[in-house]
Point group: C2
């Protein structure tokens, strides 16, 4: 660790967070399931297989265009469980509330959670609430953990990408991150950019049905598509190249990103899925994605090559190629 | 809700927390599993049965005699899963870290978590870390969620207590709460009271083996034994009477409780289990508890009667009987 104190960048989804995970969490816990660094752990359970994942949501502000912290907390964990190829079934929810938080706001958030859970077809089955004194938290933090059922023989992993595979993206990039930052920067009146927060378990199931040899799914949240693809390239020992002209980006999101100096590949999404699929099944996977909820703008955006191992590139509109870097410091604290 | 804002007492484990759960969470989520108000949800899973529970830990201070927030976060959720009669298997862990938190302290906490997980025989398999700016959290908050396997046919519930049943307690009352408050009040040099935080899954398994008709288990954490027994009496529509002279309490804990004006029945425990057992199996259950880890001081402390429904009493050393009330306001914020 380069720092003896926790910095905001340790929660960014970028390289410093990776350092914290590798050098502190994985080292101290020494658990095989953690070392795989997948979004959900795949586990043996009474002869069946279970997927298990957790996320804590500290997004600021808690209400934003198109959603709130409650919708995020359900969709995010549903999506993490779904990335393993499992069917999400149950969620737990743990609240930390700051003294003085409005009960009415809590009700609104719980409504959003219930609606998102119904949409995803999951059940919120157990919970916990802690209250801390004023000034010791910031309104509300929500943890959700999710359990899903993994069909026998289903085995997806970020380490399974192979040269020739195609990279699929389920829709436009950057909506969530830019929706949040537009509020923080006071830009919300000049745009109508909304969060993309959505449950993608039906989309994942449709892609697996159409492309049974799909290597893996990832939802590019903190650190964006850049972090996700760099993790996959490193885990599989392959190179990935994305064609910038093929990546769907809403024009308003593109404009706001440029104005604010963000690389849209590094901006967080909360309702997008990346799938790595063998070339011969890519068209079927794309058709399934486009037909699924939240998949209208899906596209094949890149491909996997053998080398240089662990590197990710962008082929720009002008035909040049640049490295797609992981976020190093902190771009947008508390984006989710 | 009597208040339109969240108060510290809404996290106390007492009547105001019950109001928040009943009138806000259960109402908004409208989920059957939540309505049972058990510490862990018992769920169907691929033809087997699964127990699922979660808790967030916000204890202050994070290091205290006999343990730390890490040990608490593992033991607390292991025990909640165990109360359902399940074998705890897997934990998720979600951290909220305040900017500036010492990495060395984080390592110490992770060590404690690993040691407690090994002792309990559970695996920490998935995790998440969020960092918030200085002043937006208080050092570290930890959520754990736990999954356990429920043997076929095992069905424990706080609603199954019957007249004539015995109340077993696995050891001395109040150690955790008084250990924490002794630090806060600067009393730690005059006592050597330590937290009782411990994994009790082996103890629970031993009791079920010896007393297969055990009605339910509960770990009396926030709100103490008083909240636990009141919840059981209400859920089962029975009365419970505890004999004060039979309840094991460490003399230092008793002294500190009296000095600080606490009712030891309302003080939090983190390594104690209450079991409700049919009278004819109570001696076998007690013997199993005493032989199990952390059960040395176990005792039969009370019994269940038919009426008045929902009421809990203490028979005092002087032969008088008083109501054992649930905590109403907040006694010890951030005790766990």
């Amino acid at each position: 660790m380069r720092s003896d104190r926790i910095l905001l960048a340790h929660g960014s989804g970028g390289t410093m967070m990776r350092e914290l995970i590798d050098e502190v969490f994985v080292e101290e816990f020494a658990e095989d399931a953690l070392k795989r660094l997948d979004d959900a752990a795949s586990l043996e359970f009474s002869g069946d297989r279970l997927a298990f994942s957790t996320d804590t949501y500290v997004v600021n502000p808690i209400f934003f265009p198109g959603g709130d912290i409650g919708r995020l907390a359900v969709c995010g964990t549903v999506n993490d469980v779904a990335t393993s190829g499992a069917t999400p079934l149950y969620l737990s929810v743990g609240f930390v509330l700051e003294e003085g938080f409005l009960v009415e706001d809590l009700r609104t958030i719980l409504h959003s959670m219930r609606d998102a859970a119904r949409e995803a077809g999951v059940h919120i089955v157990t919970g916990d609430t802690k209250v801390v004194g004023k000034g010791h938290a910031d309104g509300i933090f929500i943890n959700t953990a999710g359990v899903g059922a993994l069909p026998a023989g289903r085995d997806l992993s970020g380490s399974y990408c192979r040269p020739g595979d195609k990279v699929l993206l389920s829709g436009t990039l950057g909506d969530h991150g830019i929706a949040i930052v537009s509020i923080r920067e006071g830009l919300e009146f000049s745009t109508d950019i909304q969060t993309d927060a959505a449950p993608l378990n039906a989309l994942v199931a449709a892609v697996i049905e159409a492309a049974p040899d799909t290597r893996c799914f990832r939802d590019p949240t903190r650190g964006g598509m850049a972090s996700t693809l760099n993790e996959l390239a490193a885990a599989s020992g392959v190179s990935i190249t994305v064609d910038e002209t093929l990546v769907p980006v809403d024009p308003q999101v593109r404009g706001a990103s440029e104005m604010l100096g963000y690389d849209v590949f590094q901006v967080a999404n909360e309702g997008k899925m990346i799938a790595i699929v063998p070339a011969e099944q890519a068209d079927a996977a794309l058709a399934a994605m486009k037909a699924a909820p939240y998949g209208d703008n899906a596209a094949i955006v890149g491909e996997v090559a053998e080398s240089p191992s662990g590197k990710v590139y962008v082929r720009t509109a002008f035909g040049a190629t640049r490295v797609m870097d992981m976020l190093v410091g902190e771009q947008l604290p508390r984006i989710c």
